[in-house]
Symmetry: C2
Subunit: 409 residues, 2 copies
């Protein structure tokens, strides 16, 4: 079960005017559940996305990037679970394009207006024929209130569906933001997360949406890591249908933009944290807050060095205040001129290291007390500047090994 | 038990003229075993070392670096297990210096001629008084054939003592190289390994020894990783007593140097591989051989990206040919201009990926067959140059989590 995360009820995920979702069982793996999602957008919808920087990026990522070039007009997403269509070469790209063409023909748009996504096992050929055969069932299921079914259909090792909604009013006009995400392992988003889709009816112009999407990814999904493995398929897409009854939002200076951006950020952050809380085998949710750095990049390097250390992660799992492992991880963060005698850190409210050595006030009992919590904040001060950064991660448990040793069986 | 590693019998570790070793029980932790080692060298011995690049390097590492400045003359090593004397600030440095002073006074040399080493828990004060109290017992035990007792005394989570010897003849004169190493977790040596000491009676000049030590570390310990965590205490020291009956070896061009270097490299490589074979929880020994790179550095980046991926390591543990995880790890190796369509790799004799996509000849049965082996070589070809590099690692098992969740209890 995820760490302090209550999955949404179906009614918690608010419909977004201009968006309909339908799912179907394409039987991509030997399972009975729905594993195919089609999201249909009304005409006028624009979208922007950020994608993995893994050099072996999946075929659908390559196709998405192509289809989003230019004006960013989209009419549909098509998403399958069970097969990542990654490491599949030119045949994989052709398979993703064929899937888009089939959706386009069914919905009456161009293939370029369809964005494909896949998640699952890497390096297996995508069974396009199974997907195409299941498309009519997905189309027949299209409805605005199917967000919960949508996120359920794209789960892999996720233990719960993850979604969030916000409704705000701008000049008295309601604006909705609803997002879903899947991901639980192979999580260290470099530009985005495994798969996350957010929609709003706010009429945000395409260029502004593209810039906002990059910024939102940096502030949410790019702060999350489970195991340090950046997936081949990471994709974060925001679609804006423009259905809210107001004039288009064209610039970041428009005061309405701040309101919409705040709602988008709240949804994206909730989804990114939900992914970490549902990290494979996670029993603890850990926030790493680093300040006193010269720039954000070095603060993030320190935070990720701690977050990626298997020794730190197993110590959290054991509730063991083996704080030397955090010291060791900070020392490994590739800050060649870091002066250890200016580094301090605390665990929740307990000061542990003061200027490079154990804090005089530190006791093993205090350390033990805070390590037993299932939600822990580590604050590190580098003592060499004023920049800061925050990263979220989880611990490393027996279940992580079990889940990943058994994944394909 | 380590993967295909038979620990040496005491008689396998050959005495090196000019070196005597003694151990004692300082009771640094609540255990009954010996945990203190003193190695005494005859006058005329020179030594060189390479040490961790962790910025929180331990106090003994700082002191070793100072003591090795200049001519590299050494008369003793003093090593304790159970406490790393790391993250201990100025008090830690004073504790290491005090230990050296006590050894110097006992053996009749200067404190500068003593090198201190510690391994164990980080961020606890070093109990100098316990070490000093146990020194006379260690001195009384000094003998040339105590290498096995020596390596046994410095073990922590190691399951077996690790040591190797070579005896060569140069112009009919026997020359001996014997080395020991400890280390099993927190292993990703950046300049060296946890602790490894190698001695030879070859009369290598100090400057030549220093250069050779750096080169040997690069070719042996720096090719090994267990969990990607570079320890605060990594130290690799070679001592040359000069007792072999021959003229000093002053330059790398001396044909005798090649013979000695070969023996040193054989010992260092055997020790580095032994550490990986005894990696915490290891059930498989994995060799990652990357070629076709533009330079060695990028080949090593790819090899370590695979070696450090928890998903790859758990797949090896499960004997699961989930080869997409290797593809994903290669894509994460931060080679921004890597062309996936030129990358190929094989697992033992099975070609898996051919020019970026699954090899036509690959079958799941073949993959399964080779993944079941306990010793596996992954060969990656980057297709963009002629450089190559090899890295050794192990898998990631339930026992790794258990060992590290329980380490301090």
């Amino acid at each position: 079960m995820p760490v302090r995360y209550t999955p949404p009820a179906p009614a918690d995920l608010l419909p977004v005017p201009g968006v309909r979702l339908g799912t179907a069982a394409a039987k991509i793996k030997r399972w009975e559940r729905d594993d195919l999602l089609v999201a249909a957008f009304d005409a006028g919808t624009v979208a922007a996305g950020v994608f993995t920087r893994n050099r072996f990026c999946a075929a659908p990522v390559i196709v998405c990037r192509r289809h989003l070039e230019g004006e960013g007009r989209v009419r549909a997403l098509v998403v399958n679970a069970g097969n990542a269509n990654a490491g599949t070469g030119d045949a994989g790209i052709a398979a993703a394009e064929a899937t888009c063409a089939a959706v386009a023909s069914m919905l009456g748009c161009t293939a370029r207006e369809v964005l494909p996504f896949s998640t699952g096992v890497i390096m297996e050929p995508l069974p396009v024929e199974k997907i195409v055969a299941a498309l009519p069932a997905a189309r027949n299921a299209l409805a605005g209130d199917h967000w919960f079914a949508a996120v359920s259909a794209i789960m892999t090792t996720d233990t719960v569906p993850k979604g969030a909604s916000r409704r705000i009013a701008i000049d008295g006009v309601p604006v909705t933001v609803t997002g879903i995400a899947k991901g639980s392992g192979m999580i260290h988003p470099d530009m985005a997360t495994m798969l996350s889709f957010v929609a709003t009816d706010a009429p945000i112009a395409a260029g502004l949406l593209a810039a906002a999407t990059r910024e939102l990814a940096g502030a949410s999904f790019n702060c999350a890591t489970i195991d340090g493995d950046t997936s081949t398929n990471d994709s974060f897409v925001i679609a804006a249908t423009g259905k809210a009854a107001m004039a288009p939002i064209l610039t970041a200076n428009d005061p309405r933009f701040a309101a919409v951006y705040g709602a988008l950020l709240a949804v994206a952050t909730e989804l990114a944290q939900a992914i970490v809380r549902d990290g494979e085998g996670a029993t603890k949710f850990i926030t790493l807050a680093v300040d006193g750095g010269r720039d954000v990049a070095e603060c993030r390097r320190v935070a990720f060095a701690i977050a990626h250390s298997p020794l730190v992660k197993t110590a959290f799992f054991a509730s063991d205040p083996n704080l030397g492992r955090i010291v060791c991880a900070i020392g490994n963060a590739e800050l060649p001129d870091l002066d250890p005698s200016r580094v301090s850190f605390s665990l929740a409210d307990v000061k542990v290291v003061d200027n490079g050595a154990r804090a005089a006030s530190y006791t093993e009992e205090d350390g033990q007390r805070v390590m037993k919590e299932d939600e822990i904040t580590v604050r590190v001060t580098l003592g060499r500047g004023s920049a800061s950064a925050t990263v979220w991660t989880c611990d490393f448990s027996h279940d992580y090994v079990s889940i990943n040793a058994d994944y394909r069986s």
